[in-house]
């Protein structure tokens, strides 16, 4: 499999350059609020519909309108969908950044620019195409105030012509994008056509990039991780949702509201759910905990700042043993940090969120399909273990469009955990809330409202004995804390197991998680094809770790833990968990800059740490 990008540096002006087919990244540099999102989605979908694997990543500012935004579409015949470092085809729409955007390109790249910007004067080693947007848009869009938006469709047409994207697919994508708005669809289509015609009559193809029909996307869907998570929660039977808006999580509950209104209203016209926009994250998690305590499948979605606010409550839920699901769509901290950029920076603080000795279950999806399936895992585990479960997604996964196989309908029945009913109590006569009856550390609970005189217990964050009575006795406290730890031990074999991918007699292991996965897949191929270096790969999917993690480290001389944060957070957590003599085998590759991880950076750094 060819993994290197064929960069043809020589003679960029020549038409004779070797064709590069289905292997390129297109970047649209624009300003936010300019309405280019529809155009970019249409481009992405058109390529997807031609059967070529694609990914789209939006790098946007924390701002409503007027600041630079970059949208990158990667088309790759081998299915690599991680961010690619190099840009092959730049669509320069932003006056402010145009110069820097052009200067940072590698020789041989192509640039599409607005004629008055005269970018072609900047460099002689690139392929330039100028487009007179204003001249082209006026005739197709008589309404002046719409021109700013429609202008963006012009570049779709130009690019379609230059890259050989089929116009039939572009039209289909537009019709889908503007589903019910036929007039808007027609207007946009006319703009695309104007761009296409202009390119056909006035531009000479000089770059090597082409899109060619293949069959690698048949039956697949395109969805963002937050929408996938929302769907997953709906099918997992979520009943109470409390949330507070924060990028990049807001679209999760917002999409959930839409789906639930459509699919979770009973025959009586009434909702089988309650969704509340709370006054802040403290209230959101409080509602989740109140609802979980009373028996609902409850959840919230937030990002790092919200997680910080939830810390005290997280300790209460851990200690009083109350179920609930928290989606953390991670963004870059500390503090407000880079609120619209991706990271894996909340791993360590969330695993141990709150004061005293606390430990939480984390699930870590790498794909939209896992956002969907782990939603049910999260609710089931929360109720089975009577504790909070955190799903550690990130901005890259949550807010970007990903292609995926269609999601499979959950076959496993909903797991409600150890709940005693009135009938159970009739039989048993009573119960001790925090007694480890089954040896797994998990007690039995009752739900408020259970019509039995022995059903009630006193839920508290203060020290308690098996009967949930207030206790400051050292033995009660220690017994209880040990039992809570036993729950975490039990959870190791219940949480989603890591995914293992073996190379050929590899001495080097890689451990990664979440969206880093996509760069790792590509980097492993680069390592094999370019350096002949074999690697084995373990993708973590949850904390606490299963026994497979230690075994994996045992089996390898050197294990690289690769992640998107500064302090090597997962690396630290693994070190805490494994036998001390294994610790020296671990090496860390950890960076945070706000951009999704790319394969080239991983390959380069790993090879340099290997001393090559």
């Amino acid at each position: 499999m060819a993994t290197t990008d064929i960069a043809l540096h020589q003679d960029s002006g020549s038409v004779e350059r070797k064709r590069v087919v289905n292997n390129m990244s297109i970047q649209v540099a624009t300003v936010n609020g300019s309405g280019s999102q529809s155009s970019n989605t249409v481009l992405l979908r058109s390529i997807f519909q031609m059967g070529v694997p694609v990914s789209g990543k939006n790098l946007f500012p924390s701002n409503i309108a007027g600041l630079p935004t970059w949208y990158t579409i990667r088309a790759n015949k081998d299915g690599y969908i991680a961010r690619k470092k190099e840009i092959d085809f730049l669509i320069a729409m932003n006056v402010e950044t145009a110069r820097e955007d052009v200067m940072s390109l590698a020789p041989g790249a192509a640039v599409l620019y607005d004629e008055p910007l005269k970018l072609d004067a900047l460099r002689s080693d690139l392929v330039f195409y100028s487009v007179p947007y204003d001249k082209l848009v006026a005739p197709v869009c008589p309404e002046a105030k719409l021109r700013k938006l429609v202008k963006n469709m012009i570049y779709v047409g130009v690019v379609a012509k230059l890259l050989d994207i089929e116009m039939g697919e572009v039209e289909k994508a537009i019709r889908k994008q503007f589903a019910k708005k036929v007039k808007a669809a027609n207007l946009n289509l006319a703009a695309v056509q104007a761009g296409y015609d202009y390119a056909a009559s006035s531009l000479t193809k000089r770059d090597p990039y082409f899109v060619q029909r293949m069959n690698k996307t048949a039956g697949k869907i395109i969805i963002d991780g937050n929408a996938a998570a929302a769907l997953g929660c709906m099918f997992a039977g979520v009943t109470v949702v409390a949330w507070y808006p924060i990028t990049p999580s807001s679209s999760l509950p917002e999409t959930l509201i839409e789906y639930m209104k459509e699919h979770r209203v009973g025959p009586d016209g009434k909702a089988t759910f309650a969704i509340v926009q709370a006054e802040d994250e403290l209230a959101a998690i409080g509602m989740v905990i109140g609802a979980g305590w009373a028996g609902a499948r409850s959840m919230t979605a937030t990002a790092g700042p919200g997680i910080s606010l939830m810390a005290e409550f997280a300790g209460l839920a851990y200690y009083a043993e109350v179920p609930g699901v928290v989606w953390d769509i991670q963004r870059v901290g500390p503090s407000t940090g880079l609120p619209t950029r991706t990271s894996q920076g909340d791993i360590l603080s969330t695993a141990f969120l709150s004061h005293g000795d606390t430990k939480h279950i984390l699930l870590i999806p790498c794909s939209v399909a896992e956002c969907f399936s782990m939603a049910q895992d999260a609710f089931d585990l929360a109720e089975q273990f009577q504790t909070l479960v955190f799903v550690m997604s990130d901005l890259d996964l949550g807010m970007n469009n990903w292609m995926s196989d269609p999601f499979t309908y959950p076959e496993k029945p909903i797991q409600r955990g150890k709940v005693l009913t009135k009938e159970d109590l009739d039989r048993l006569g009573g119960f001790a809330r925090y007694k480890d009856v089954d040896g797994d550390g998990i007690g039995y609970r009752t739900l408020p409202g259970t019509p039995h005189p022995a059903a009630a217990y006193f839920t508290r964050g203060t020290g308690h004995n098996e009967h949930s009575q207030y206790s400051e006795r050292p033995d009660d406290f220690e017994t209880n804390m040990d039992r809570l730890n036993r729950k975490v031990e039990t959870a190791r074999s219940f949480v989603p197991a890591p995914e293992l991918m073996h190379g050929d007699k590899a001495k080097i292991g890689i451990i990664a998680y979440g969206t880093s996965h996509w760069a790792i897949l590509e980097a492993r191929d680069q390592l094999r094809n370019e350096y002949g270096v074999e690697t084995d790969y373990l993708r973590l999917r949850a904390y606490p770790f299963s026994a497979a993690v230690e075994e994996f480290i045992e089996q390898h001389d050197r294990v690289y833990v690769i992640e998107q944060n500064r302090d090597a957070q997962m690396h630290s957590m693994i070190k805490l968990d494994i036998r001390p003599e294994l610790v020296t085998r671990l090496r860390s590759i950890a960076h945070i800059h706000g951009l999704p991880l790319d394969a080239r950076s991983v390959t380069d750094e790993l090879m340099s740490m290997e001393g090559k």
Partner: protein, 348 residues
Amino acid sequence: MATTPTSTPAPKTNRIGLTVLDYRGGKTTLCAGCGHNAISERIIDAMYEMGVPPERVIKPSGIGCSSKSPAYFMSRSHSFNAVHGRMPSVATGAVLANRRLIALGLSGDGDSASIGIGQFVHLMRRNLPIIYIIEDNGVYGLTKGQFSATADLGSKLKTGVINDLPPIDTCALAITLGATFVGRSFSGDKKQLHAMLKAAIAHQGTVMLDVVSPCVTFNDHEGSTKSYKYMKDHEEPLQDISFVPSFEEIDVEYDPGTTVEVTMHDGSRLRLSKVEEDYDPTHRINAIHRLHEAHDKGEVLTGVFYVNPQAPTFIDMLNMTDEPLATLPESAVRPGREVLEQVMEELR
């Protein structure tokens, strides 16, 4: 029930066949004479007399001496002693999970008016079905007597420290924000508090009761405005309150000239007699006005200040199904295969 007299008379029972003992809690660990204990007693009596099934009641609370008090009444009801100032959110979640629950939230003046003011404010806006009681002693009892935000201007701590910030009137605030049953009482005013609690149980939306409840250990001295003595001297009841539950025959005649009768959502009647001339307890603006006036006059006004028995609750607004969400079967909460198929098709 046996009607012939026996040597050991059967204990008195309420309309659901429970004795008052069935509403008892654990032995209190609060200081002897603490106002909070008296409030617990009134809650027991009111719940018993109203025939509320204890298993349907939940007792969420925050942190403080006051928030501990759910341990000392109604052991047959689930309690949730949560974190400081956040009882409203926990209660909200629980009521959403199971709309059949009767929520009796217990809080303190520190818990509600300082650390918890944000959640307090937003709970009041939502008209969630809940009885929210602030056991108001003007200090933080559990952390040994610092001023709270309900302490009156000029009131004095035992240490001699004078409060120089104006108090937050939680009743005026609650009315302003949308609570639909708001009153103030005094832990030492047995009759008034009893009637108020019974009416509160009959109300369908948010009840906010600020009950002045002296802290005998830290705020019951000369110079305190939340002491037993100060209350005896300054309590100004707005009305005499009586309550006729929906399940009782109405027997007593009343004089419409001196008594305002409010019909509650469940058909029971709240009677407010000897009302100040032209005081209309269904008039929000007047209520707020009267409270501010009381402050200026240095009175501790008690009574039912505002009631709106018919306002839609948060549950109504959310259009929730009649069954508790918590126990809906899988078939009700997991859409069918065809739904997933359809959604997948739209995403292709």
